[in-house]
Structures are given as C-alpha cells and as structure tokens.
C-alpha cells in the first residue's frame, strides 16, 4: 500500500538559516513525488515534483528537494528561510503509471522566527 510519513509535526527555524522538512514514502512501483504548501484557510499550492531524472529538484520560491531512492525519502530544503515561508507543508506520492490518487502525509508546520 502507498503511504507517506512526515515525522515532524512542526519545524522551527530562524530567518536566514537553512530549513529541512522531512518526508519518507512507500509505494510498490516507481514514485511520483510532490510537495505542496498550504497557507491558513487556503488551498494547496504546488512547490515542486520528482518524476524522473536528476535527484535534486528545484521548485518555486527557492525550495528544492532531493529524491533518495535507497532511503525512500524526498526531503524539502531551502538554503535561507524567510518569515513568509511559515505555513503548512505536505508531501505527497503517487504510484507512477498505475494510480491516479495522491497520498498525502499528515503535514509539517514550518515556523520561521524573525
């Protein structure tokens, strides 16, 4: 069965410091992996995805993520956090070519302090 784990409910970081939001996944076949961000009382905004190719994926607002097949991880990173990055972040996985549905993690709240 497909699943996604986001082990941290909240991540706290100071503005200007690097940030990492962790995600591990489980699928039977090849994964399509996604990161979305959700601001209060809003929908989900797409940040980046891994489909195939280079393991380091760059996305919107300076975010990037690294696909690690052996560790089944897809951690979200940013070299220098901004206060405006404070939001709820969701990792999601879909089994390539065989499933339509996205399986989401429980979300990680990122708090960037000035």
């Amino acid at each position: 069965a497909q699943s996604v784990a986001q082990p941290e409910d909240q991540v706290n970081v100071a503005e200007g410091n690097p940030l990492t939001v962790k995600c591990t996944y489980s699928v039977s076949g090849n994964p399509y992996l996604f990161w979305y961000v959700q601001y209060p009382n809003r929908g989900l905004q797409f940040l980046l995805k891994y489909i195939t190719g280079d393991n380091l994926v760059k996305g919107s607002y300076g975010f990037e993520a690294e696909f690690n097949k052996s560790q089944t991880s897809f951690h979200l990173k940013k070299p220098s956090a901004l206060v405006s990055d404070s939001a709820l972040y969701f990792c999601a996985v879909r089994e390539a070519d065989s499933s339509y549905k996205l399986i989401f993690g429980s979300g990680t709240r990122l708090l960037v302090r000035p």
């Binding site: 989900l44 797409f46 065989s98 339509y100 549905k101 429980s106 979300g107």
Partner: protein
C-alpha cells in the same frame, strides 16, 4: 490564465441534507480529482474523473458521487450529510491523469454540517 476554480467557497448545511460542489479545471486540463481535508489532517482522495468517467475511487461511501461534464468541469455531490462530512473539499486538475504532469489545486469549498 485562470487556475482551478471552485464554488461555493463556504456553505453550511444541516444533517441529512444534500450538497453539490462545483469545480472548473485549469485551462488545458482534462482530469479532475476531488479530495477531502478534515481539520488538522492531510487531504484524502475521494475520486478522479477523466473523459467523463470515474477512473479511481478512494475509501469513501456511495453517498459521495460525482460527475464530469464535456467541458471538463466537475461536480461533487454528497447525500445524507453527516457531521463528520464537515471539511475543506479540494478540487484538483491535471492533464492526462496517469502522467506525471503537475496536479493543481483550487482554493477549496468549506463545508460545515450542523
């Protein structure tokens, strides 16, 4: 370029009533999915429509039904509403459902059942 649009944005219904939520996909997209996001949780897949047919369904009862129209817009219907149906309902669209194309979400419809 309009993104995914949903209506209504907020609504309140009474237990036992029926509700219809509407979604217009992003321009150029032909695949629509619906997700339910309960408070404090990640989105849960309800079903996906492609070429006016339901292609995959999540673990939701038959009270949840949908439709896709020839212009690719979609409706989500929920019958016999329960208090537990209170949630944010998200519509997502993409091009060619099984591909690795990006899935974009709308702002959602907030449903409160009293």
């Amino acid at each position: 370029d309009a993104g995914v649009t949903q209506s209504p944005t907020h609504l309140i219904k009474t237990r036992g009533q029926q509700v219809t939520l509407r979604c217009s996909p992003k321009s150029g997209h032909d695949t629509v999915s619906w997700y339910q996001q309960a408070l404090g949780q990640g989105p849960q897949f309800i079903f996906q429509y492609y070429e006016e047919e339901e292609r995959q369904r999540g673990n939701f009862p038959d009270r949840f039904s949908g439709h896709q129209f020839p212009n690719y817009s979609s409706e989500l219907n929920v019958n016999a509403l329960l208090l537990g149906d209170s949630a944010l309902y998200l519509c997502a669209s993409s091009y060619r459902g099984l591909s690795g194309n990006t899935i974009y979400f709308g702002e959602g419809s907030w449903l409160t059942v009293v």
